[in-house]
Symmetry: C2
Subunit: 411 residues, 2 copies
């Protein structure tokens, strides 16, 4: 009958929440004195000292150098998050690669590893075994840096049940009802989490890329498939079953090419990585398993998008036509997203990053013809600097967010 | 850097919040004893008595008959919301009618009045003067029932700035940058609110129609224009600027008929009330100003959709073709909404209600061809029982929700 949200405030939960308040302020203002924390939180200095001590014992914060704050006389000891304690392990299964990444409590990237892998149609057990090996390698490597894995999050390219970790449908992998639960890396205090790679790429952009400046945004990840992560008020909008943001299956060309989902003319059949390469007359993504890939590459894990960029730069007609068509289709789908979701910003990620100089103009024209006529202005279309690293960064960051939002989990 | 939501809990705000907790439980469980309220809220009986006394003094709750609760001996005095005290006034401007509605604190409708009005292209000042007259009439009528207006909310068919009450763009009215602020009805304690009619129709459906059973839902209001209200977790999803849910301007037929927004082939040019009537060879909505309209009518305020229903029932070819085309277009737009938003349920409202027997089958087929292929199941498509009364009910309900969420506003 009435809105939820008003629940009685009881004192038992206050300590946990107050620990989170202090840790959040430390993360945001570090290094920060206990006196300044008292001002920021409204707690007494005694309460702040008690809470900081609890966080210190859990290895989440530590004292550092003296800091001067404003005009007020003597410097105080600065409290910072403990960069060499708890860490988040992010993992990613994608159609043509696997990735692992470890991020410390200060959201500094401490480890990254991406390997090419031909995962389409490959036995899920083999894919997951390779992912587990990657996870164990990552945990061992960061243990040498003194870090311990607080939890793991796995990015997956499909519709999944986050509670159970079952991938319901990942058309580009050929998976249906595949459980992804299992031991990824060492035992860790937090339960493993699973999420759609488009959602985690958007969170990666929020935490490691454009940040809060983007406002509410739609992040479009171009890979073999295309997914959108919708960020509203700093959180991912997931929909009722966690299946929101499936922009790759909006119909871009009615009656168009058949899609792996069973439909026809889906956006990803026109603007997906493979579709663009094919239309440009280039071979599809190579899928040599086990190839190490330079991290932070913005040209597709195996360089196939790099070949497309070369053709575009050389003004090859087929390449230009393929990407112009993709841009129009993507702009049409984003016009629907803008009309329905009304974001502040659109961010192009994944393979759309390196293609931005060619794909953005037709995309913006399609947006201006659609919602632009109603709204007068269309949202700015930005380009992610993270490209294909976004999802695995978002996964690792998710673990850190869990710890900061509820540090009592590690006490 | 970190998610918002963790704010320090201080005691100054606790009383206001706790008043809201008690009032919510009274509204949900009425009549309810103070002893049961103590169980429900976790507060002591003394605290509950103090809070109930404050609410009683403000005229928000009152004691009623004795109630027996469970097996525990003697009956207690039941507390209920005060149905004859504070009330919410809802107002609506639409293209072909104006409406007013008053709802009491128990969300019982105490007054409704709908008048036909040719508002397209009419001077905004004249429209708003007519609306103010309707509001004053409503307030005077319910004053005789002992009710006093706690606040007013106005439903408008366009993009608006809710803070300032300025309608930025209402293409079907022909309004651009029209301020709607002003005295609608008597002075009242809460500031007036303004919202898009599609948002308020969705809230009307939530509070007076299908309710919580619908889960997260998309409510599609068919009027002259078509708008969607997106309800997530019991709240309207508004987007960054309050312009979310503009489903009427999704492109249904690329290069199709020109739209009042400046675009082409927008959904409302195929599935809007006027477009369907025209395609069926029927005259458009009549717009005789000042005609009293039967409240709760499900066939368009002036009966024009009733004529279409008659033709459909008589299996008229043009009418059947017009509505089948509208259903396919609506299904295509809703396919995009399902892929992006992942709702539990879709609800057809406004003029789509009486047309449901004809419009729903092609709509469901389009949904099954789109997201149905990816998800295996499409969300159920329900039909609102409120039809065109939903937005003005939602507006009145919004005022009641404000009071229940923060009763301290009336103390």
């Amino acid at each position: 009958m009435t809105k939820s949200g008003n629940v009685p405030v009881r004192h038992a939960t206050m300590r946990g929440r107050n620990l989170a308040v202090v840790l959040e302020h430390v993360a945001r203002h570090q290094p920060v004195t206990r006196a300044r924390l008292a001002e920021l939180t409204g707690f007494t200095k005694t309460t702040v000292s008690t809470l900081v001590a609890l966080l210190e014992n859990a290895g989440l914060v530590r004292d550092g150098a003296l800091v001067h704050e404003g005009e007020r006389g003597r410097p105080g000891v600065g409290v910072s998050v403990h960069g060499d304690g708890a860490a988040g392990l992010g993992l990613e299964v994608n159609v043509d690669y696997l990735a692992a990444c470890v991020v410390d409590l200060g959201k500094k990237v401490r480890y990254r590893h991406v390997v090419g892998a031909g995962n389409r149609g490959r036995d899920p057990g083999a894919v997951l075994a390779a992912l587990a090996a990657l996870a164990n390698e990552a945990a061992a490597a960061v243990a040498e840096q003194g870090l311990s894995i607080a939890g793991t999050a796995v990015a997956l390219p499909g519709l999944l049940d986050r509670e159970s970790g079952v991938v319901r449908r990942a058309p580009n992998l050929g998976w249906t009802d595949v459980p992804v639960t299992g031991a990824f890396g060492p035992a860790s205090p937090l339960p493993a989490e699973y999420d759609n790679e488009a959602n985690l790429a958007a969170l990666g952009e929020l935490w490691f890329g454009g940040g809060a400046r983007l406002g509410d945004f739609v992040h479009v990840s171009g890979e073999i498939g295309i997914g959108a992560g919708i960020v509203v008020g700093g959180r991912v909008f997931r929909g009722a079953h966690g299946f929101a943001g499936e922009i790759g299956h909006l119909v871009a060309e009615p009656g168009g090419p058949p899609c792996s989902c069973g439909g026809r003319g889906c956006l990803e059949q026109i603007a997906g990585q493979e579709a663009m390469l094919r239309a440009a007359g280039l071979p599809g993504p190579r899928t040599a398993t086990g190839t190490a890939i330079a991290t932070g590459s913005a040209t597709g894990p195996d360089g196939s998008v790099g070949a497309l960029v070369d053709r575009l730069a050389a003004e090859d007609g087929a390449a230009l036509a393929a990407v112009a068509r993709a841009g129009r289709a993507l702009g049409g789908a984003l016009a629907s997203a803008v009309n329905l979701l009304d974001p502040d910003t659109i961010v192009l990620g994944g393979v759309f990053s390196p293609l931005a100089p060619w794909i953005r103009p037709p995309l913006r024209a399609a947006l201006a013809d659609g919602p632009g006529t109603l709204r007068r202005e269309i949202p700015p279309v930005e380009v992610s600097g993270l490209a294909e690293g976004a999802a695995v960064l978002g996964a690792a960051g998710l673990v850190i967010e869990r710890v900061i939002a509820d540090p009592a989990l590690l006490l």
